[in-house]
């Protein structure tokens, strides 16, 4: 049971790393950066 759970954890971590890598290759971090470096009007209650 614990062993299976640890395998699942490791698989999730591996999948997460693959997702991050795929996102980086597609330049999706730039989309995050662009949004986060401008004041988000919706967030602060204006937009």
């Amino acid at each position: 049971m614990e062993r299976r759970r640890n395998i699942l954890t490791a698989a999730l971590m591996g999948a997460a790393v693959l997702l991050i890598a795929a996102g980086l290759v597609m330049g999706q971090n730039a989309q995050v950066l662009a949004k986060a470096t401008r004041i988000c009007l919706e967030c602060i209650g204006i937009g």
Partner: protein, 295 residues
């Protein structure tokens, strides 16, 4: 590790995620490379001090982009945090969770551990995640519904920004008034209820809760040592019974039960290996009241 240490870790985490101190005086947010990366906890990227990006805001932004592309990057980061920590993020790393804990330390005549409807209300956060963070932003391009209509961390950021930049104050309308009401409700209820936003509304807490049973960091019960005395369940501010369900989705891994167990039956594990963290010998406002008041 005692409770002071957990508080110190929470304070350090909140500071590290908001260390752009000059922003609080100039009203200008940080625009450096740190904002390529999402922080683990709920921390609005429009907070004047924020050094990283908010995962919930970034996810909505990706989902509501005009040309839809699967949000590999943001989702990957969120799954990574979930797979490693689960809701340990809530107990140790999230600034908004920390803020609510500080508010809960304010003395009040009555502190509520649980109440009728408490268990059902905890499902609301999953609806917030599915409807406001995923479905509506996808259906309605360019509108991050959760940020726009609910997020109290964003409202707080707006207040901090407008304190430094008076031009913003003139732009506030009914949406701000609504969000300020939500924030006020969260602040006031946090004095009486332990982390009400985390329990009932936070979509990030809902997301991480899905990983609690499979994250690298978990809680374990030694059934040979557990006598079923119930001491752990009585001290849990999240109303979890860790002896029965150590990896319950509501457990924020604060570790209070670990140090309260008189028989040493509970411990933290990393990939099933016990780690010697007996966290806090905490006096919570809930503990100081007779049992009948904690209903």
């Amino acid at each position: 590790m005692d409770n002071k240490k957990r508080t110190l870790i929470q304070a350090a985490a909140a500071f590290l995620q908001n260390a752009h101190v000059t922003g609080f005086f100039t009203g200008k947010i940080y625009t450096g490379a740190g904002k390529n990366v999402c922080v683990p906890g709920l921390n609005c990227y429009s907070c004047p001090g924020a050094l990283g990006a908010c995962p919930v805001g970034s996810l909505q932004n990706a989902l509501s982009a005009w040309k839809f592309r699967f949000p590999y990057y943001v989702l990957g980061l969120m799954v990574f945090f979930g797979a490693v920590f689960g809701r340990l993020v809530c107990g140790f790393l999230c600034p908004f969770g920390f803020l609510q804990e500080l508010l809960f330390r304010i003395p009040s005549p009555r502190k509520l551990r649980t109440f009728r409807g408490d268990a059902s209300l905890r499902y609301v956060k999953y609806a917030v995640l599915i409807i406001m963070v995923i479905i509506l932003p996808m259906a309605h391009k360019f509108t991050p519904f959760y940020c726009k209509y609910l997020c109290p961390s964003g409202t707080l950021s707006g207040m901090l920004l407008s304190a430094a930049d008076s031009r913003l104050r003139g732009l506030f309308g009914w949406i701000f008034t609504w969000k300020a009401l939500v924030l006020t409700a969260v602040v006031l209820s946090s004095i009486v209820i332990f982390r009400p936003f985390c329990k009932y509304l936070c979509p990030l807490g809902a997301f991480y809760s899905l990983f609690n049973r499979a994250s690298a960091v978990r809680l374990a019960v030694d059934s040979g040592k557990c006598t079923g005395c119930g001491a752990c369940a009585r001290v849990c501010d999240m109303a979890v019974n860790p002896a029965a369900s150590p990896n319950h989705s509501e457990c924020i891994r604060c570790g209070k039960c670990v140090s309260r167990c008189p028989h040493g039956a509970l411990c933290f594990t990393v990939f099933s290996r016990p780690v010697g963290v007996r966290v806090p010998e905490v006096i919570s406002p809930l503990d100081e009241r007779p049992e009948r008041d904690n209903k």
